[in-house]
Symmetry: C2
Subunit: 792 residues, 2 copies
């Protein structure tokens, strides 16, 4: 067979590979004596050995060969490391190519720098053991497995020039998210998008077990990859020089295939889905590491996963470690100063072609702001509070349509959703751009297009992963999801929040666009789908993350939603969570009032209050349905107890409730008390679980006066209002609670309770009989209240 690498090149590439392997092992083991210029002694070895060797040699082999390909073809390529615990390999490679030292000048390219490089790894206040935001060239945290391929595709979208090499570990390949990510190729348009080169690295083992894919017979594995829509190239073995030649040949052929498919598609401008190439690399776990330790096979087994040699009070282990490290012949690889030999260094690409310096992996460098439409143009006219109805998310849809329109040319905005964009009433965007679909389109299909910028697939994992990859490579996006099912990506959210939080502390990371969630079809209007579709707990998951990166908004109406969405799309480096309903609902604020209210984050609604600055009770609300119930309760109270002085407070930006020491949006205690008073009872109607409010306000003045009504895991297929009743968020319960806690009106509690019980009985009978809510509920409308009652 043809040998694509000359003997000289092969020898140099192999030396480069040895250098990378040496540095990978050195990081795990050595705290001193980095070039092994002295005999290895116990004190040169780190006291705690923390890191993963097993995957490193394979990653290094791939990186060296991709470097060759980049140089030869002047490629624009980034590297996504699925087996991210192979952190030492990526640090080694970026150090060898020079991009590491540019980011971290103290880690010089000489003996001292090498010593620091080794020592810092997995060392307190050094660098983490996994690929992380600190790693140049990475857009993918490798600590939690499963998201590499989705990130890779996200980065490739709208980057026609880019090739994303994505290593998928055979452990990671068992995860759900990865298993469905293979189908991302159905959403990649070869005309406008770049390419993803998946590399399935079969090193055979996880921590303690063989992997499923590595033990499939060849036929079954090929069928699987064909079924996923790929043409696999296999490179298998353990003899380095043979692998070098095989791998070089495979990469040449795969690149040719990629470029040919792109040429074909682009020449005609016709999108199609080719069978894209992919690589299967089968090499031993812990390759080139210790073969046998204490009589047990290590290389090529699960025992090579982390540190193949440990317990250096055993002198034989010290000697074995030394022999292993010396097997890479560091003296041939580094010059007298400890710098990589020039002949080897010349193998790396230069400048931004180095994968550690490619700006696509530090997306903020490439980020351009969205061209934003005037959100006020989409305002709903609200002549007075509660005078008109609208579907908030449909209004937002018009705004997003304009965002889409204005940013078609730069091609840097996409909308993501699990089959729910239309259901969530954002379908106005289809006027501008359809849903991305590459396979067959039939007559009855609507809004499908290979050029579509709306990404729909019934996988929250893919939506989230693609969006993260798209954002981290410097673009903008918006993810709408049914509220309950966003929990499917709790863990991806966690990792992205951690990525953002760490990135803020990495000086060279330029902020990227925020990740914007719209949760709709929310808990209070899942009366039709029932209990399985009711869960507002994502708010709690988000609220647990660092204040530097998370924001939560509960716009009470369409104009507030517009204002919030406009703000979120302009923001950088956050995760913005917006919760808003899609059903027709009363509108409260005109655009000016909405903007002011959203800027303040929370405020007193004077038009609904009659407290003259001295309330008997504060009726607070956050969320659209809670706001409606709160105001309906106020109506009831104003009729029933006109002398009760009520203050109505609405919270849009939930983080204002937190102490300012906990969150930058937190109100000062003074402002908090200006709104909520120091000691007046607060009846708080909240969108989510009540405890979230309690935990936010526990340091505020007299927190026990807050009586929070929210979701209590009660629900089924029922009527919309019955959802509120089941969870005690309904107007009748809220108004009763207000009377109970307003001290001046203790005399009324008994009668009010009776009235409450009577109306509840009526409600239950009515919905059982008619299958829909009481007319007074369905037809309720806020009316201008009577003038404020005089104080008692």
């Amino acid at each position: 067979m043809h040998s694509p690498l000359s003997p000289q090149l092969l020898q140099r590439m192999d030396a480069y590979w040895r250098a990378a392997n040496y540095l990978s092992a050195g990081q795990i083991y050595l705290r001193d004596n980095p070039l092994l210029e002295q005999p290895l002694r116990h004190e040169h070895i780190k006291p705690r050995l923390l890191g993963h060797w097993g995957t490193a040699p394979g990653l290094n082999m791939l990186y060296v060969h991709l470097n060759r390909l980049i140089r030869q073809h002047d490629l624009n390529m980034i590297f996504v490391t699925g087996p991210g615990h192979g952190g030492p390999a990526l640090v080694a490679q970026t150090y060898l190519e020079g991009s590491y030292t540019e980011r971290y000048p103290a880690i010089e390219r000489n003996r001292e720098g090498l010593a620091r490089l080794f020592r810092q790894f997995s060392w307190p206040h050094g660098v983490p053991s996994h690929v992380s935001p600190e790693t140049p060239g990475s857009i993918h945290e490798g600590g939690e497995l499963g998201y590499s391929l989705a990130h890779a595709y996200g980065a490739a979208f709208d980057n026609p020039d880019l090739i994303v090499a994505c290593v998928v570990g055979d452990g990671e390949a068992e995860t759900g998210a990865l298993a469905t990510s293979w189908h991302s190729n159905k959403f990649l348009n070869p005309v406008r998008d770049g390419a993803v080169l998946p590399i399935l690295h079969l090193n055979g083992y996880k921590i303690a077990n063989p992997t499923i894919l590595s033990r499939l017979d060849h036929t079954e594995l090929v069928a699987l990859l064909h079924g996923y829509g790929y043409e696999p190239w296999f490179v298998e073995g353990s003899e380095p020089s043979a692998i070098h030649q095989q791998l070089a040949r495979a990469l040449n052929e795969m690149l040719e295939r990629i470029q040919a498919e792109q040429r074909t598609a682009r020449a005609k401008g016709i999108a199609h889905r080719p069978r894209w190439p992919m690589l299967v690399l089968r090499t031993p776990k812990g390759w080139t590491g210790p073969g046998v330790v204490d009589g047990e096979q290590v290389e090529g087994t699960w025992r090579a996963h982390q540190v193949p040699l440990a317990h250096f009070d055993n002198a034989a282990h010290v000697a074995q470690l030394e022999a292993w490290l010396k097997s890479y012949r560091p003296e041939e690889l580094f010059d007298a100063d400890g710098k990589l030999q020039d002949t080897l260094a010349a193998l790396a690409p230069t400048g931004n072609r180095r994968m550690g310096a490619n700006p696509h992996a530090n997306g903020g460098e490439l980020l351009t702001p969205l061209d934003m439409p005037a959100f006020r143009d989409h305002a709903i006219a609200v002549p007075r509070p509660g005078a008109v109805e609208a579907e908030s998310t449909r209004v937002l849809g018009g705004f997003l349509r304009d965002v889409m329109r204005l940013n078609l040319a730069p091609a840097n905005f996409r909308l993501f959703g699990p089959d729910e964009t239309a259901s969530n009433r954002l379908d106005a965007v289809y006027d501008i751009s359809g849903k991305m679909w590459l396979d067959r389109i039939e007559a009855s299909d609507n809004h499908l297009s290979a050029d579509g910028r709306v990404m729909e697939v019934l996988s929250e994992h893919l939506c989230e992963g693609w969006l993260e990859g798209y954002l981290l490579s410097g673009r903008h996006g918006f993810f709408s999801c049914y509220e309950a099912f966003i929990h499917i990506v709790d863990s991806m959210f966690n990792q992205h929040a951690k990525w953002l939080r760490t990135s803020q502390r990495v000086p060279w990371r330029v902020p990227v666009a925020s990740l914007n969630y719209l949760l709709t079809s929310h808990v209070w209007r899942q009366d039709h789908n029932g209990l399985s579709h009711q869960d507002p707990g994502f708010l709690d998951v988000v609220a647990n993350k660092r204040a530097e990166v998370v924001r939560i908004y509960l716009p009470p109406d369409a104009n507030c939603l517009l204002s919030v969405a406009n703000h979120c799309l302009r923001s950088r480096g956050y995760i913005n969570l917006i919760v808003a309903g899609k059903q027709p609902a009363w509108q409260w604020l005109d655009m000016d009032a909405a903007t002011r209210h959203c800027e303040a984050g929370a405020g007193i609604w004077d038009w609904a209050s009659n407290d003259d600055g001295d309330p008997d009770v504060v009726m607070a609300c956050a969320g659209d349905v809670p706001t409606q119930e709160c105001l309906a309760a106020v109506s009831l109270l104003r009729d029933y107890l006109p002398t009760l002085r009520i203050r109505v407070v609405n919270v849009v930006d939930l983080m204002v409730l937190e102490p300012r020491s906990q969150h930058p949006h937190g109100l000062s205690d003074r402002d908090f008390e200006r709104i909520f008073t120091q000691d007046v009872p607060v009846i708080f109607a909240f969108h989510g679980y009540p405890s979230l409010i309690h935990k936010m306000i526990y340091r505020r003045s007299r927190p026990e006066r807050f009586h929070v009504h929210g979701y209590q895991e009660e629900g089924t297929t029922t009527t919309p209002f019955d959802m509120a009743v089941l969870n005690h968020l309904d107007r009748y319960q809220l108004s009763l609670d207000a009377i109970r806690h307003a001290e001046r009106f203790a005399d009324h509690v008994e009668e009010a309770t009776q009235r409450y019980e009577a109306i509840m009985e009526k409600h239950r009978l009515y919905i059982g009989e008619h299958g829909e809510d009481l007319p007074e509920v369905r037809h309720w409308q806020w009316r201008v209240p009577a003038p404020a009652a005089s104080s008692a």
Copy 2:
């Protein structure tokens, strides 16, 4: 081709299918006139139309044919409905076979029952629109997509006689969880396990989009299914009688294949992995429903997903609905009383062979208690608190080994984990049973066995899904997981919690064994893996669920862990969350004390306290590392301020903190104040996010006196103690906080603060220099304190 159904049988089966389709549509639409004996009028139609028609005809077709197969071969079969929104179909089928009426006698098999059946569907306080715990024969809630196939395999494990027919919708097939579930066949042993018959139902559309799998070309789809390890039978078309024959033939052949493979394996007792059969059914979405509505194609498109006809103020729609319903010829299907014709009813299996009555789908009926070893036999001898070290999860491993041993014969206990059983130090179980592995086993593999009862796969989704299926079909299990990554299955946990909560309210559902989580490799000992592996937030997710179903335990040492695990494995109907570390740690309680402490849930540790009933400060803790830091802080305080009266409180059962009105484990206010006092400052060292404690205690006496230290999202690769320092959970910070809040000692705050800053500086320098913790931290040991100081 051979036609397996005689014309007479075909005609009867088709009639049965029509009856099921009629009942499915009737549930969605009709509130009255159930047999269409009067002309259909507007008032016969429900005011709110809530339900999903699209998938129902396909589900009905399958059910009718599986009934035929069950009868013909006396099969033990259950039905898992992936497209669970097809609730009306499953209700219709169980009604037709009689199992529904047995569970719900008011839904009689006559005209009145039919009227009630129709009316209750998606009606307030009726039955939900999705397959749910209320549905006879179901172990699978269909509201959230993705888990059907994992549930099916879980039910098949250790049920050699059972066949689980599992319908996978082509929408659901796009989810991550489902995409990896196909590989469950690698974990099914044909000798000891039953069979799963996957049925991929390609009806082509999700809510608004075509599905990926339905648009693959045939070759690619076949390759995919071969790659997953299945042999697909295809049944495709829209002409019912042709489908009847094709489907009958396919089912006959697939059953033969299943039984042949089982015979082969069982005759020799040799496990292998055959290419199991599966069905691909390609029929139109909304099949037999309205073809064209208002000029738009509905049948066979996404428009058939929910209600194909709506808006009945339009008389033409009323007429079209009537014509549609009458197309099933109800007058031929039901007798004069409105009961299914006897000739049709005879097609259903009888007794427990009916899929709606199969006890495997109401697992509590089959549940036998585990034979439990004496957990005390595994006790660590603790001659005095803090005298010995142990790895808590390793001790638990010994206990679980005995549970495994004692229950090998009934074959009703399995351990689940994502490649981490050994890492989590539970590997003693391998003495009794290995890790289930069916494919090739190589020399260096450890503890793999086709008979293994430890289920390891690098997918939390599969572990969770298999376990849920295993439990819901009446067995026992235990799931160990890295704490951070359990978030991957947050949403599955949510759905299971909802299932359990609803099941408690369904009288005929017999309680199943609890789902037991052990979270280990927890946040405080992820110093080596860094930030990505640090997240205690699953506690918050669990705490949001209904008190009837969730329990949270934080055993401080090995003996407490034994006591808690013993309790959890005996319990029914809960989700028990246990968090415990795997690293060597000091032990506090002997077995008697541990048992008493766990039974109480929380208590004062007198041996560590010197408060004489009148503390200056309460030092509280929950979790093993927090307990250690709390006691170390107490040591420091006892040395530094011997006259400070300290009470030490440990909490094992977190729910004791909640008000009794919120959780049955909640302490009465009196008991709470007996332990925590009414007003003494509490310095609380907590395993998770501090806000969880705040939200639990906000109704207790003076909650603002609780100063909770816990995880604050600060971490990286560092030392174990530095993790505590970064999050202010360390002994020095805790002791300083105690002095700050103990009023009598205000004079000491300044000096204590200086001492604190000095030790922190020393800590930072030391770990930077040595890469490990200060000797006084590493070698700290609790010592018997000096006698209680006299009160000031």
